[in-house]
Amino acid sequence: MTLLLKSREAVLFGAIIALIVVISTRFPAFVAPSNLANAFNDTAPLIILALGQMAVILTRCIDLSVAANLALTGMVVAMLNTAAPWLPAPAIIMIAIGLGAVMGSINGFFVWKMRIPPIVVTLGTMTIFRGVIFLISGGEWINAHEMGENFKAFPRAIVLGLPVMSWIAIAIVALFYLLITRTPVGRAFFAVGGNPDAAVYTGINVGRTQFIAFLLSGMLAGLTGYLWVARYAVAYVDIAAGFELEVVAACVIGGISIAGGIGSVGGAVLGAVFLGVIKNALPVVNISPFWQLAISGSAIIIAVAFNAQTQRSKGRVILKKAEHAT
């Protein structure tokens, strides 16, 4: 099984390299280190969110509210910054993570305690969070000149050749790798997704594990909310609209099974990078950005079809048609 997953990541990695090579044969400027660093920095929010989403999907849930969570946190910290410009960036980050955690735990609460299907909960909270942004901001934009210099500068500061935002993404990838592969919580994510009934018998609290997954996803969305608003220096109701689909797409492309229990940190990161490369390559090869949506959609469908093919051959199927029907 690990061999299969490894080969899957290798396939994806090969596809990304091939994509970059093909683009670079016609547009050599694309592979300039500075451009690749830029592309990675652009993809950082997607990588961070894909990791949170991965934890949620591993436990057989889905979090469609991440983009709305990101936008609401971004708006709150931007308003906070205009009201109290003296707040240092670390304090803002803590507030953003805390706020994201609150929203994540709202999702987790309904899934854990009320046993409402996650898709219903997060579809609901997605619209509620967006609506709340409108309520608190009155539909107004917060523009670059209203934000403090410190607030905007932090994610863009260059450390060792890369912006802080990229370093944060790298740090979170490393932390998540440890969490998923080396801790009981990470193990519990796989157990709950692989077989919830068996997980109960091994003493794992399924609902609580799902709650933790939503909490993590919310915290990362909150953090990304600050990074996003500070980097693009604007906050309004519709920032990152539809981004939740891209996040789910990154996970599906990265080989994380939507049925839960299968996936890896490397896969999620590569899935996000794959979408990031496409997104950054479109303007270079002169394709209208209007193609972006259709391409992500096709990527999701192709990836999920590919996943199903590789996962189906994992054992002897006795009742082929019966398995097909479920």
């Binding site: 898709i119 219903v120 909960v121 939507i258 259709a294």
Partner: protein, 333 residues
């Protein structure tokens, strides 16, 4: 997404038919509808006006047409999140047809066939390749709308023929609009199909136990495929009504409708995990949602705030009965 079997407890004996009828979700919902109606008529002096009420029906008729088909699909244990994008694609195709000088019958035929093709595409991926419908339709949701964006970009199609405007703006008699009539006709068709035919029974059977349904001789994949087709078709019917009503097509048409349609279905008492639900429930839910949004509109509440209300309704209608149940269990324990 596969969902493990929920524990359904079977009561020792059923209450009398009248008692069951009173306790049913539909009668509770009807009560809510009456309450919202009264509240609205107290809150705004403009509410109780035949033409205003007629206008209010446009808030839900198009969404409800999709909701009927979606109800059957959800009862069978699948879901289609791409319906709003099918509207966008069907509307774009109809707008493009006009540029080639198509008349009203051709436009309608093109719209309906785009809906059928989209539905068949979803259905083939789900039943043919055995993929989870939620991921497939999240994918096709971006794909279908993405194609509209590729075709239209930031432009819009206008110039629909005058005869085409009947579908969304026409009145059959006095304040009774064509859309309202179509809404009731479709409600009756879907109600009869779900509750009075073998096909409807098969839908319930599949939702409760797909493997069991297969062993009892139901062609599960075929039934599901037909349900995806019908959802695609209803989305294109809604696209015809909406395009005719607005008189123009933009790629952002009907954004977020999938959420409202699913909310309507769940509010109507359909189990999101499949296996139970009714069309009368969806009809009343459509009225409740239409009245709520119309009432809030009369009170000058902005659209995005209404979406908060819709989101809370969606979670609330599922959470409240469960909270009540948990509370009752604790008390009896």
């Amino acid at each position: 997404m596969s969902i493990t079997a929920t524990n359904r407890s079977i009561p020792d004996r059923l209450g009398s038919p009248a008692q069951r009828y009173l306790k049913s979700w539909e009668s509770l919902l009807l009560l809510v509808a009456v309450f919202v109606f009264l509240l609205n008529s107290l809150a705004s002096p403009y509410f109780l006006d035949a033409w205003n009420l007629s206008d209010a029906t446009f808030n839900f008729t198009e969404k409800a047409m999709i909701a009927f088909a979606m109800a059957l699909l959800i009862i069978s244990g699948e879901i289609d999140l791409s319906v709003a994008s099918i509207i966008a694609l069907a509307s774009t195709a109809m707008g493009a047809a006009i540029q080639f000088g198509a008349g009203t019958p051709e436009i309608v035929a093109i719209g309906l066939s785009v809906g059928l093709i989209c539905g068949a595409f979803n259905g083939a991926l789900v039943t043919g390749l055995g993929l989870p419908s939620i991921v497939v339709t999240i994918g096709t949701m971006s794909l279908f709308r993405g194609i509209s964006y590729i075709v239209l970009g930031d432009k819009a199609y206008t110039g629909y023929p005058a005869s085409f405007s009947f579908f969304g703006q026409g009145y059959v008699w006095w304040v009774i609009s064509f859309e309202l009539v179509l809404f009731f006709v479709l409600a009756i068709i879907y109600g009869v199909v779900l509750h009075k035919t073998n096909f409807g029974r098969a839908v319930f059977a599949i939702g409760n136990n797909p493997v069991g349904a297969m062993f009892s001789g139901i062609r599960v994949a075929r039934v599901k495929f037909i349900l995806f087709l019908s959802t695609g078709l209803m989305a294109s019917v809604a696209a015809i009504c909406l395009t005719s009503r607005l008189g123009s097509t933009r790629p952002s048409i009907a954004v977020g409708w999938e959420l409202e349609v699913v909310t309507m279905v769940v509010l109507g008492g359909v189990n999101i995990l499949g296996g139970s639900g009714s069309i009368p429930g969806v009809v009343i839910a459509a009225f409740v949602m239409g009245l709520v949004t119309f009432g809030l509109g009369l009170l000058n509440v902005p659209g995005i705030v209404m979406s908060i209300v819709i989101g809370m309704l969606l979670i609330g209608v599922i959470a409240l009965p469960r909270m009540w149940q948990q509370f009752a269990e604790k008390r009896s324990a």
